[in-house]
């Protein structure tokens, strides 16, 4: 039982760590970035590249990769998203065009990496980080990376939630999503804010990529897709507009899946995720913790 809980926490951290950046971008920027999975994968890929060629430890590899992936976000925004926002007639059109553009960008990234790896899967070498199993008094076990991921996830969730909700920067971010014109009048540079936020989202994708590549022992051009679909589930369950909600949703989903495997019909684990989404959407469409009720009804 305790092991099942430990595994649920581990799985939950995988999901939430991945989903946080996406949740940020969606809740705050109304940007459903389908290239997020590809950015995550780039994080994993660069971790493999940097780790294999320069044999440095995680402490060095992590910041380098995070900066690289954040840069891809800023690049995408400057070259593509900014112009789309300007051109769009209605918010829905803006969201839709950015969505479609992100699909195109994802295809570019995935194809390039697929070609570079010749379709094979790689892994981050142990010189970057050695995964060890930790035993907690014979009651349950976790690897050191699982523990790190859990701590990082919880800390990041709290920090992000606090910043978005209470800091001036957070208020500005939220304001820009609702009404950019008024914000400009109030002296907020909405474009720069968008760029900064999307850079943070990208940084988180990169962070998740590095840590998960080590935890999952694999780097593969298509590794972003399954996690992306899970991230949708989590964000919808938790409620858009709430970072904490996404985290709760993620751990909830992980618990549901793990306990299904351990105690129930294991084959339906994935179906459970989507059925939960549909139920939440139909019964409580605002999600468990959403704040922006007006957008849903």
């Amino acid at each position: 039982m305790l092991q099942a809980i430990a595994d649920s926490l581990s799985l939950g951290s995988v999901y939430v760590l991945f989903a946080l950046g996406l949740s940020l971008s969606w809740s705050v920027l109304n940007l459903l970035n389908l290239a997020y999975g590809a950015q995550f994968m780039l994080g994993a890929y660069f971790a493999y590249l940097v780790g294999t060629h320069w044999h440095h430890s995680l402490l060095l590899v992590l910041p380098v990769v995070v900066v690289i992936v954040a840069a891809t976000s800023v690049l995408a925004d400057n070259l593509v998203f900014r112009h789309l926002r300007r051109q769009a007639g209605t918010p829905v059109e803006s969201e839709l065009s950015m969505l479609v553009a992100s699909i195109g960008l994802a295809a570019v990234a995935v194809t390039l990496v697929q070609h570079a790896t010749a379709g094979e899967s790689e892994f981050v070498p142990q010189t970057v980080f050695k995964v060890r199993t930790l035993h907690f008094g014979g009651l349950f076990r976790m690897t050191n990376m699982q523990l790190i991921m859990l701590i990082v996830t919880v800390v990041l969730t709290v920090v992000l939630a606090v910043v978005v909700k209470w800091s001036r920067f957070g208020r500005a971010m939220r304001g820009v999503a609702v009404d950019p014109a008024t914000c400009e009048l109030l002296g907020v540079n909405s474009n720069r804010l968008f760029s900064t936020t999307i850079a943070i989202s990208g940084a988180m994708a990169g962070l998740a990529g590095v840590l998960l590549a080590i935890h999952l022992s694999t780097v593969d051009a298509n590794m972003g897709d399954p996690l992306l679909t899970k991230a949708f589930a989590i964000i919808i369950i938790g409620g858009v507009g709430s970072i904490a909600g996404a985290a709760v949703g993620g751990y909830l989903l992980a618990f549901a899946e793990t306990f299904t495997v351990v105690y129930g019909p294991a084959n339906y684990k994935d179906a459970i995720a989507f059925i939960i989404i549909l139920i939440v959407l139909l019964v409580r469409p605002t999600g468990l913790f959403a704040r922006k009720r007006w957008e849903r009804s």
Binding site: Q3, A4, D7, S8, S10, L11, V14, A88, G89, T90, T111, Q114, A118, G119, E120, S121, E122, F123, Q126, V131, T133, R141, T143, Q146, L212, H215, L216, S217, T218, D220, N222, M223, D225, P226, L227, T229, K230, E257, T258, V261, V262, A266, N267, K269, D270
Partner: protein, 430 residues
């Protein structure tokens, strides 16, 4: 200031919409006509066969093109044209891209050797590759195109899902098609124009079971992919009765999906049950992570698997994969002369890279075509080639995989059991 679209304006002049429709339609027709008048063909046709096939194609069913016999003298009972180009529809990108590329490498090596050795007399063989991107729809449309082209034979992809959709087309269009991997039933049962140069995994299992019995394995757990037909069939249908017959208890089978990212829960359960051996029937990205997770969970027993194991998929696990065993159709250290030559030639051709079983299968598939061409009697056509291939399979031949024998159009092999030393080396398991 943002400009909102005026919904009324778009319909003020319906004539304009009609004008655009007419323009689009006529330009589409123009493009189609332009396409027809140019000699664009998919899958390069032999120059001698081009004239014959255009006059032969009639009605709505593509007729099997007959290749005009050239005067080139060749070995065997047929007068083969100076050059033969066939289409290979392969998964070169996408989920199983690595498998497709390895197969392609093997095929290219074989073609080079076939041409250099004069096996087909002065006839030169060449292959045109089309990428399916591991999508069924793409594979099917490529197949229809290839079937309607002048390609006298077709090489099929490795994915079962695509191959079962393509095999019926091969049969109705009467074009000999040679598949590798593609272990599902529907590939061969679709008809006698379909050939397969990979024995279904079910045939390798007896050797594995003997190995397990010999090492006192009394209980096993299985971890497999439910959304890959071959692993699913193996885990759910083939293995259970074999275990039972060998008095090995199958404690539990755990089905995951190729999209499952974290298997901690499954691993904990398996480690908790602690069977004597764990079978991982998992597609490539999953093998090393599964082994690492099992070892980290404290599982110390034997780990075994199938064709998804190999140096490439085990390297990530490193020392933790020491001692794992698996069945495969290819033993790179076999002393069989053809195998030894293949391994050496492959390393020479591909900068020292060692071949895997997929490359060996591709190699032998290309050779099957060559033997089939050699055994073709009369003028080369799809039907005579099919007969030639049947003759070749009945005789069997020595290939990279070993001494190949066929049952009908399907390869049969007892396979090998290999083991890994944790440091990049594969050797037969004893």
């Amino acid at each position: 200031m943002k400009h909102l679209p005026n919904p009324m304006r778009s319909f003020a002049k319906p004539q304009r919409g009609k004008l655009i429709a007419i323009v689009s339609a006529s330009s589409a027709i123009a493009v189609v006509l332009a396409g027809c008048s140019s000699s664009k063909k998919s899958g390069a046709a032999a120059s001698t066969s081009a004239a014959a096939s255009t006059s032969a194609a009639t009605g709505s069913t593509p007729a099997a093109p007959s290749v005009a016999a050239s005067s080139a003298a060749t070995g065997g009972g047929a007068s083969l044209p100076a050059s033969i180009a066939v289409t290979a529809i392969q998964d070169l990108t996408g989920a199983v891209g690595a498998v497709g590329i390895a197969t392609q490498n093997g095929m290219n090596l074989a073609v080079k050797e076939i041409n250099a050795s004069g096996m087909l007399g002065s006839t030169q063989l060449s292959i045109n590759y089309k990428d399916t991107a591991t999508t069924s729809a793409q594979a099917v449309s490529l197949m229809s195109a290839a079937a309607a082209s002048d390609s006298v034979a077709i090489f099929g992809p490795v994915s079962s899902q695509e191959s079962v959709a393509m095999a019926p087309i091969a049969q109705t269009s009467k074009v000999p098609t040679i598949f590798t991997q593609s272990g599902a039933d529907g590939v061969i049962t679709a008809g006698n124009f379909n050939f397969r140069v990979t024995a279904p995994q079910a045939f390798f299992q007896p050797k594995l079971i003997s190995y397990l019995s010999a090492h006192n394995i009394k209980s096993v757990d299985l971890l497999y992919d439910t959304d890959v037909p071959t692993t699913k069939g193996l885990a759910e249908q083939t293995l259970p009765p074999l275990f039972k017959a060998a008095n090995i208890t199958l404690k539990n089978s755990y089905g995951i999906q190729t999209t499952t990212t974290d298997i901690s829960a499954y691993v904990s359960k398996i480690a908790g049950e602690n069977p004597d051996a764990v079978g991982i029937s998992d597609t490539n990205p999953g093998v090393s992570p599964a082994i690492i997770a099992l070892r980290n969970a404290g599982y110390k027993g034997l780990i075994f698997g199938g064709s998804s194991f190999g140096v490439a998929s085990l390297k990530a696990a490193g020392a933790q994969a020491k001692g794992v065993v698996w069945t495969t159709d290819f033993d790179p250290q076999s002393t069989f002369p053809q195998t030894v030559k293949f391994v050496a030639d492959y390393k020479a051709a591909y900068s020292g890279a060692a071949p895997n079983n997929y490359a060996a299968e591709g190699f032998d598939a290309a050779y099957l075509l060559a033997y089939g061409l050699k055994d073709t009697t009369g003028a080369l056509s799809r039907t005579t080639l099919q007969a030639g291939l049947t003759t070749a399979t009945m005789a069997g031949f020595s290939g990279a995989l070993g001494q190949l024998t066929f049952q009908g159009n399907d390869l049969r092999e007892a396979g090998y059991v290999e083991t890994y030393d944790g440091a990049g080396n594969v050797s037969p398991a004893t």
